[in-house]
């Protein structure tokens, strides 16, 4: 039996800053535009089918909270940090830093994976919240401008349709995705072969596999949350 893992506070804080705070701009910009795009698309479809667009804000908010918010945020997070984690650990393996850690009685899992895990879950959850807030705000601007909704109306319909359990499930999704990224990326790093090409390969595989894992996990979670 392995001992319970140890959390290194200092490393975890560093990772929270690096993985979370530094990913803010990309999430801010991307999800802002996703929010705008959704309002336009939904308005088009609803006018086509329902002949009016009163429910556009509600639908876009629901879709954002249930699916796009956590998924897009974590896919962005993957491309930003998955490759980095795999390359860093892969390089440490190639240059025998991992062996050196073991010889100093430091568990590479404790030292490398646990802080990244904490950092990544923190980043995934907080960035998802920011992402949804930004996209709702962007959506509100556009809805007021283009659809003639008032801001009171907009947020009323949004809060009527988005239920509290949806928010909890959304954050749960973010936590799961935030766990998948560092574990898959570290795994790729730890099993990295020798040489710099192998490090590159590990980084690529980390992004590919964690993106895939997020999309599959999203389906599984949506199924568990809403279809059973």
């Amino acid at each position: 039996m392995r001992k319970r893992f140890r959390l290194r506070i200092h490393e975890a804080l560093e990772q929270m800053y690096f993985l979370g705070v530094q990913s803010l701009p990309i999430v801010f910009i991307s999800l802002g535009f996703v929010g705008l795009m959704m309002i336009l698309e939904l308005a088009f479809h609803m006018r086509l089918v329902l002949k009016h667009d009163a429910l556009v804000p509600a639908f876009s908010a629901v879709l954002m909270v249930r699916e796009l918010g956590p998924v897009i945020t974590c896919l962005l997070l993957t491309s930003r940090i998955g490759a980095g984690i795999a390359a860093e650990i892969g390089t440490m393996k190639v240059t025998e830093q991992l062996d050196a850690l073991k010889m100093l009685s430091i568990d590479p899992f404790d030292y490398l994976v646990v802080p990244r895990w904490v950092g990544s879950v923190f980043a995934a959850i907080s960035l998802t919240v920011v992402a949804i807030a930004v996209s709702l705000w962007g959506g509100a601007l556009l809805a007021i401008q283009k659809l003639g909704t008032s801001s009171g109306e907009y947020f009323n319909t949004v809060f009527f349709f988005v239920k509290f359990p949806d928010v909890i499930r959304c954050l749960l999704k973010a936590a799961v995705f935030g766990t998948l990224i560092p574990f898959i990326a570290s795994y790729q790093g730890f099993r990295c072969g020798t040489g710099s090409a192998a490090v590159g390969e590990a980084a690529t595989q980390a992004v590919v596999r964690s993106s895939l894992a997020i999309i599959v996990a999203d389906f599984v979670l949506t199924y568990l949350f809403y279809a059973i």
Partner: protein, 243 residues
């Protein structure tokens, strides 16, 4: 006591070590000589379970080295210090962190000022200036990195010290200093030491006993005096390098 019994190791088709049997007595300093690629680094890694033999057994301090048994392995590693051939310093933290890491992890000391004193002491043992403490490994030359890695290993105060080519790439003055240090550690602190290298001069300077590896096997084993008169062909080649 380190005991290696009939250990073999292959990579793919190639058998690197073939039925190696050797012992290192407590407090003894054994110098393993051999040409490049003969398997010296592999032999050291086998001793601490960073590699697994395909046959044979290795015991360190009476404990069997077994990659499957992580608890025993952790116990063995706690007694050992390995200086890697390539410095293998953690490149994301400073020299000070590198040296103090093991002290904290092995709980040799928890008091910050005591840790700092230990770090400075080990640094001066390897002949480095305190100015390097705040630097990052990538800012240092290879031989300085190597010396930091030796300080890092000494800092955990191991009972068994394994050196992989400690003097390669160092200037003659640093080499002499390091040879003295290795000798002193084994003589005064009774640290059981294994040095692998192709540096024949260092072998004479520090080794209580010499072992010569060739094509996966031990072709000579004995004192420095005996080595000088050995008739093994590789021993002769090494003798020519020396005299």
């Amino acid at each position: 006591m380190i005991s290696v019994k009939q250990v073999s190791k292959s990579f793919g088709e190639r058998r690197v070590l073939n039925q190696i049997t050797m012992q290192v007595a407590p407090g003894e300093c054994v110098f393993v000589l051999g040409k490049s690629g003969v398997g010296k680094s592999v032999l050291l890694k086998l001793m601490v379970g960073l590699n697994s033999p395909e046959s044979g057994e290795i015991h360190v301090a009476g404990l069997k080295v077994d990659a499957e048994n992580s608890q025993t392995l952790a116990q063995i590693r706690k007694k050992c210090g390995l200086v890697f051939q390539f410095p293998a310093l953690l490149d994301s933290v400073s020299v000070f962190e590198n040296i103090s890491f093991g002290i904290r992890a092995r709980e040799i000391s928890v008091n910050p000022s005591e840790i700092e004193a230990k770090v400075r002491e080990k640094l001066s043992l390897v002949g480095l200036n305190e100015k390097v403490l705040g630097k990052f490994p990538t800012e240092l030359s290879f031989s300085t990195q190597k010396r930091v890695s030796i300080a890092r290993t000494l800092a955990v105060e191991p009972d068994y010290l394994l050196f992989d080519e400690p003097t390669t790439g160092m200037d003659p003055i640093a080499t002499t200093g390091l040879n003295h240090l290795i000798k002193k550690l084994s003589q005064e602190l009774k640290v059981t030491t294994v040095v692998v290298s192709h540096d024949i001069k260092s072998a004479f300077a520090v080794g209580d006993r010499m072992i010569l590896l060739d094509q996966g096997q031990i072709v000579f084993e004995g004192s420095a005096e005996k080595f000088k008169t050995s008739t093994a062909s590789l021993a002769k080649q090494f003798q020519e390098e020396m005299f």
